[in-house]
Symmetry: C2
Subunit: 153 residues, 2 copies
DNA sequence: CCTTGACCTTGCCATGATGGGAAGCCCCAT
DNA sequence: ATGGGGCTTCCCATCATGGCAAGGTCAAGG
């Protein structure tokens, strides 16, 4: 089966299949004499595994670990469980952060008249003239993860 | 004041200040004869506004809109409110998605013994041999947003 | 047998927001 | 005047993904 069919059957785009191969997440595919990648049902099975893990928000690194465990018949289920739990905790933390933001926004929106007049507590809040409240720290904490990073799944 | 001090006072790294200038989010800074960027208190004020908006999860595009409204004395507070609400709804949707994932993971983890044996329902679940359940569609829906994209704030 | 269109190949570029680093200039205190 | 730290620009990397382009291949129909 060629890459298009493997894509259809696994739900992973052809582009991503090639990418996964390139970064070593999946082994290099067999090739037909013409150079086309050739997949077996087992490959599709693996791709589907990847797709599901991805749907649960696992990163490539996490999927790598899961795949290793999947293939390892001597695995300890405790290791798998630990991975899942770590991922869940990660998500719970992100959720809490997003909830903070959403709550703040909703509260601000609630206090805004939302009419034709220009005065708006939302802008006022964003524009408060508070000191950075970071003591004598000259630059932002180097190892503090950035907002975007913290938010990403 | 030079970029380092503006950074300290605003909580925005020098790197990001230059970036914001480059993409046109903030106007080009004045320069000293030596070519150093020179900032006034008003600039720091604006940077702080940006930092706060970022902390609420607004993207650069959203911040651009907020800044425009902030500067526009003829704004309608309804427009600001709409921005905040849209952002909040966006967040609520992402939260729901993350909660789905976390819930699934926790449930799977709960059913896993987590011992020395290899059998694990988590891996079993990821490896289910279900058909892609997408009818006769050959490739994934072109305009379906990717998981990662959906998750990002 | 040849054409056509759908598929495959590789390779490069872009995303968004951010950090890292290099090479070179500038400023101030000793 | 020298040294160290700050500034400048420019380039590269991240992560997972899509898009595009140039060229090879396959299968169906004339």
């Amino acid at each position: 089966m060629n890459i298009g069919e493997a894509s259809t059957q696994s739900g992973v785009t052809a582009k991503m299949i090639r990418y996964y191969e390139q970064i070593g997440l999946i082994p290099r595919a067999e090739r037909t004499p013409a150079g086309y990648r050739d997949y077996a049902d087992a490959d599709v099975h693996m791709l589907r595994f990847i797709a599901r893990a991805r749907d649960l928000g696992f990163s490539i690194a996490g999927i790598t670990e899961l795949l290793d465990l999947w293939r390892n018949k001597d695995r300890r289920s405790a290791d798998v469980k630990a991975l899942a739990q770590a991922r869940a905790e990660d998500l719970r933390q992100k959720i809490a952060h997003l909830q903070d933001m959403a709550g703040t926004l909703e509260e601000l929106a609630r206090t805004c008249a939302g009419n034709e007049r220009p005065d708006c507590p939302i802008l006022q809040e964003l524009a408060v003239q508070t000191a950075p409240a970071q003591g004598n720290r000259k630059y932002r904490n180097k190892d503090s993860t950035s907002i975007q990073e913290r938010i990403r799944s």
